[in-house]
Symmetry: C2
Subunit: 214 residues, 2 copies
Amino acid sequence: MVEEKADEILSEADHAHVAFLVVGDPFGATTHTDLVVRAKKMAIEVKVVHNASVMNAIGVCGLQLYRYGETVSIPFFTETWRPDSFYEKIQRNLSMGLHTLCLLDIRVKEPTLESLCRGRKAYEPPRYMTINTAIEQLLEIVQAREEPAYTEDTECVGLARLGSEDQMIVAGTMKQLQMVDFGAPLHCLVITGQTHPVEEEMLYFYRCRTSIQH
Amino acid sequence: MVEEKADEILSEADHAHVAFLVVGDPFGATTHTDLVVRAKKMAIEVKVVHNASVMNAIGVCGLQLYRYGETVSIPFFTETWRPDSFYEKIQRNLSMGLHTLCLLDIRVKEPTLESLCRGRKAYEPPRYMTINTAIEQLLEIVQAREEPAYTEDTECVGLARLGSEDQMIVAGTMKQLQMVDFGAPLHCLVITGQTHPVEEEMLYFYRCRTSIQH
């Protein structure tokens, strides 16, 4: 993890060139911004090479990038921790007719409960949230609401392995997408706002009847 | 222009591989989505190679990508055409504490008025909106408003030649940025919403006192 290695990266950079490779664009994550801030404070010169990121590659589904509102992250619910702060953001985006990109939780290098107790490092197997789980959680938190911002009939687009040869894109209602097996991670989900004709034309190719789209 | 060449691109693709190179990510512009839609309708296979785009490279200034609202485009005002539909979007973003990425107008291959009259093709020299012009227009449209969403004291970040060796990033109020010479195009502007401490720490390095930041 970057956080653990930051000191090492920065101390090396004092006397040598250090390259730090990331998935996506370096500024997609606060962690990387923090690393740059620390480097700059130490007067270390930082050169950034930008890259494609889910934040713009998501445009492939046909929904226009300038029609997205705030991006949300959906964390894995646990028995005791079921945060729903993303709901309000989705609600706001939908009320303005905007699309919402939902980034789905990734759990890697999570220490096991046992290892935390014993002070030895052992990790849980990595977990990547599927579109199906995301929709399940999204629907769970609107159950108790009187005028939910979305329902199981709300249009969405599910995307798996975005940017790779076997990427999969399916457009449909939440209910429809819940029945789709999107396969290996990473998954992400767009909750569709108001659409324009060109957007609809593109979504047409990804509608549920066609199971896989490259 | 893509629009004029689309037929040619698509007819060639019927019997050969055609590569179409763009600046930024292919789905940053509706035009390219439209080209893909037309290709798919003709059963032409389309492979997309994603790329960095201003939509994510903007993260370099330190404002977090997931804290941006809807992106706006600011067109060149003319004597008779002064559209301000972007104002409401900026207002909405600011009211939610979100940052606004303003993409500034590019005029290339604009036919001259004379050539339109005579039916011969002659073009105006290319024009690229500067940050200074953008701020001038932004301030002009709030002059008549009683409770403007922003004023000349509103914090912004101006970015020129993003992603290139000589990129320039300056953070400051609209009034401050209006005095800065950002040099050659392309320029873009972020109107800053509510900031978090990590965002502030990064902006610190780009504050107006330092004239150029690489």
